[in-house]
Amino acid sequence: MSGRVIVITSGKGGVGKTTASANLGVALANTGASVALVDMDIGLRNLDILMGLENRVVYNLVDVVEERCKLRQALVKDKRLPNLSLLPAAQTRDKTAVNSDQMKKLCEELKELFEFVLVDSPAGIESGFQNAVAGAEEAIVITTPEMSAVRDADRIIGLLEARKDEIKEYRLVLNRIRPSMVKNNDMMSVEDVLEILSVKLLGVVPEDEEIITSTNKGEPVSGTDNTRSGLAFRNIARRLRGEDVPFMDMDPQNSTWFSRIAKFFNPAARV
């Protein structure tokens, strides 16, 4: 079996690459697939924190590449899902610790062991990004609906287009959208973003406070049933597996009777 190596990148920092990687990893694992999460943000590792596994890290990616340990020793099994593993980055090194060839070799190895290999790319367009995409065949570009993020995403897409021999498919995830702001024309809509980026849309994730608590707890939202963002990530995972899932209804007017009552008593309530 040869797995799919998907790099999750954005250009801009802070738009939700690591959050998306963690949540997609959990969502895919919950559908039954074997998943490896690879943190390529060497020196500024975060994926282990989001997964709640930071106290279980013994070896990391740089140890594997420098042959101080075997790959299996470095992979950390998720504490809830046996078919999900994390290959952490090194916190005490930096992005020069790895080169593209080493990354390609590592991805080849991981492909044989897992159905999905999700590579969390660092921000930027320099060697950190270049190493992260080195072994990938597909890419997910994350952006938020803001001009700065869209500008950077455009740059990244240009760079991914240049690698069309290796990266066969790239799609967009629009993160942290606030439907009420879009309705008031205070925020770019999905169409506005696609007008500039002209790329296939994989999913849209609404802004959700639960993400903050989930990060602190180390429990990605897509593992539980009660959040909108979690549902969005689960839908994206299903689309990655080839299912045709309709996009979530983001229209704030279509809120439930309960949320309308809640808003009546407290207009500031975010429901």
């Binding site: 060697s127 500008r151 455009d154 740059r155 024309n185 925020m187 809509s189 696609l194 500039i196 002209s198």
Partner: protein, 284 residues
Amino acid sequence: MSKIAIISQPDQGVLIDVSGCTTMQEAIDHLSSTLQVSSQFWKGSNVALNLGKLELAPNQVAQVLAIAKGVGANPQTVWSDSAVTRTGLTQNNVQIGTGAPMSLPKVNLDSSAQHDFVQEEFPEEPPIERSSEEDITHFYETQDGESLKQEFSAPVEEPEDKAVKTAPLPTVLYLRQTLRSGQTVSHKGHLVIIGDVNPGAELMAEGDITVWGALRGIAHAGIGGNVQAEIRALKLQPIQIRIAHAIARSPDRPRVKFASEKFTGPETAKLVEGKIRISKRSID
């Protein structure tokens, strides 16, 4: 300095300049993404490549040459500042350029001249008169080119002045692709892009610039003083337009609602009495 530039001059051929790149991978990335032109364009042209300070081993040189050849651009001459690369070039049987390669036109856009610029009243909304017969009025503020005028040979106070350089511009660079942020194209003639020009992309031409799509980046026509140059697009929504020495910028309002922006139709920008004017008439 931009990472890649395509510079073409009718008498000298076309130069692909990647000297702005710092690593080979960058150069390859930009070569592949920007060189999507029809192979017809390269036929009959003398194509050259400028590698700048990039240090490439012989096999890397071969790789870079292969990419260029893959899109139909077969570089006959290659410039390089690095001795290591030159060895590689000789091994690949490529002629090494002597002297200086063609460069991007030097354009002096002295931003200290901003203080001089004329405050014009312009409506917040696109003026409704756009549909009238006359040339439509200033939609953008224009920078007064007073301090810049000495740089260019063409005087601009009198549009009827025939001293303006009107040398024929026989070649047109025709690109069928969307330019993404970070990509630049420069041409010593007219420039035609079939596709969009995204914010962050830059176009430079000595002649006209025509975009069959949305122009949302920066376009500079009439480099070298050609005040007759025009910029036209199906959707003229640029960050900045520059014609010869004049600069105009879009009004300061949030530019985010691209999909729902009122589509006003194809428009042309040209210099009228030293100021950039936008009109819907394509032929004048």
